[in-house]
Symmetry: C2
Subunit: 372 residues, 2 copies
Amino acid sequence: MDAFLQRRKLLAEDLTRRGLALAMFEDTEGRRDISIRYFTGHPGDALLFINADGRAALVAWDVNMANNMASVDQIFAYTDFGRSAYDAMDGMIKHFGIPAGGKIDLPTATPYLSFIEYVDRCPDYDFACTENNSSDKALAMRAVKDAAELDIYHKVSAITDSVMDAIEAGVKNGSLKSESDVALFIERALREQDCEATGFDTIAAGPSRSFGIHAFPSYSGAAFGSEGMSILDFGLVYKGYTSDVTMTFIRGKLEGKRAEMVALVQQAYTEAVALCKPGLPSRAVAQHVDELFRKHGYTMPHGLGHGVGLEAHEMPPVNLRESNTWILEPGHIITIEPGLYDPELGGVRLENDVLITADGYEVLTHSRIVQL
Amino acid sequence: MDAFLQRRKLLAEDLTRRGLALAMFEDTEGRRDISIRYFTGHPGDALLFINADGRAALVAWDVNMANNMASVDQIFAYTDFGRSAYDAMDGMIKHFGIPAGGKIDLPTATPYLSFIEYVDRCPDYDFACTENNSSDKALAMRAVKDAAELDIYHKVSAITDSVMDAIEAGVKNGSLKSESDVALFIERALREQDCEATGFDTIAAGPSRSFGIHAFPSYSGAAFGSEGMSILDFGLVYKGYTSDVTMTFIRGKLEGKRAEMVALVQQAYTEAVALCKPGLPSRAVAQHVDELFRKHGYTMPHGLGHGVGLEAHEMPPVNLRESNTWILEPGHIITIEPGLYDPELGGVRLENDVLITADGYEVLTHSRIVQL
């Protein structure tokens, strides 16, 4: 059975268990949901309907793309429904023969106004938009990587490592001197190694801009790797799955508060990774780093990490929020990315991707803080 | 008065007119809303609160960035509210001293589940999530460019034209041979001309992939400008505002159905642009092209165009949807981008940005179908 069919089967079992007749997923501008790619392979705008029997219909914006890339029982064109999600819902209810009174799961991101519209347009059906719905089930399934996904992650991690090695060499030998040099080097290198894209806009922030968590613009013509601290945060997408790493380059003598920041980030990273194991709440890892930083008078302005997968930010979160009740389990791939930032001294961040294994962890990528 | 203050003042007047005490905007992962940049200049994750007096508070994820870039009365850190939008709402209600019973406008994109949560958390207030709310007001304001925005558009259009000229020369002289060559040429060229970024992922699709509306991946190492039809769709961002153009490159003898497709797209483009003028429903322009294509047995699988601005897709839409009741007016900048696609013959699309003027139109960019 192909992986897509297997995934839809698991979702359908969950629908049956919860008494639902049909689930809809939506991947459109403003409401991206890469779960449609997870369930079908289709990487473009679409609505996906999966019924409790496991049958699936894709309503695709680009039918040519769907015919080439989607593994699904049936493909419809969005234009067949006047480019209206409500008309598509109505059509799919008929297509699947959902009896009146049937319960239909809407995506978590469904806007309040759209929910009202679905209810108005299909009054004979029971629309659900709840916690722990099919959107969340898909996120939970995606959090635990299967064997095929782990193979992809070992591959994309190796490519990412090789690109980091080349960048370190280029910054050291002076061939990569500006933020653009580094970012465009990545763009070209990834395509030479059969990757699809970057997982997110590459952040290359030289010493003048590294104080920002996410420098804006994400890269510019400014100097990179010059006196001070430069941050490079990037990911490569291979067969849909992204890596996510951050390197820091330091030029000049490391002393005073800057030296303290760098040492703390390195310590936080090392200790956080060493904690990773199945059964531990991800929040506990974030708390450990938070306490370390606070003890020295620092606060980290972002979460410690997050799952990676078809998206750069996936489940499980690795942050301090009380709502974060995730327990690490084998197959989770998370980032560990402590960082500290100072408007005058610049920023330092170190990030790698860490796989949770049966008895601990495996560090997949090998980023580092580089002293030039 | 600076442009940001002027814009907030107009929004506050609208709030007063509608009997609202406070409006919230949200620009976060999964719910991007560049209107926060429109109202404050802040380009990163944040919540923005504007009250009926025109006072504004930004709850920013990256306070260093906000302090550098936001023009706003007060800046708060998202971490001050435990990174919870509900706690931030509660805090801002107190900050602005909104009296119990006050009506608060939520963004259109507010998920059903979040709406319920706001109501639960702040039971003394009257939350609104309706059509024609502050989100829509902001979109309507953004659709009509002011003098400062028009200056930016003339500049970004000239840069875009110069990049298109350089690409045409490079494809003709053989220095740009692959999709990556073209896309990375754009990435470097835009930064040399003080642009921030591309407005969206550059689509460079050689003859093997141009049948897709949005080729996936958006560019690869495949040949570009070789025998057949190649599509290049890109935009450059200058001071936040994006251009959006599409060139088609044709190599080889143009005959049969392919010649018909190219001629029809050129005709559709020319006729659609000539129709543009204030007072005309944008839907009428789309209908004209739809009828032309249908008469020859073709259907266009996407809309004819859309507004451009701080986002690549803005108001007004230029499509056939019955819900599209937009009337063109001076200051609108729209794309006109007819295209036809065939799984075997490839695709052809021609797109430029068109400003609606007091008595007609001005074509801002000068893309074309290039016969190699």
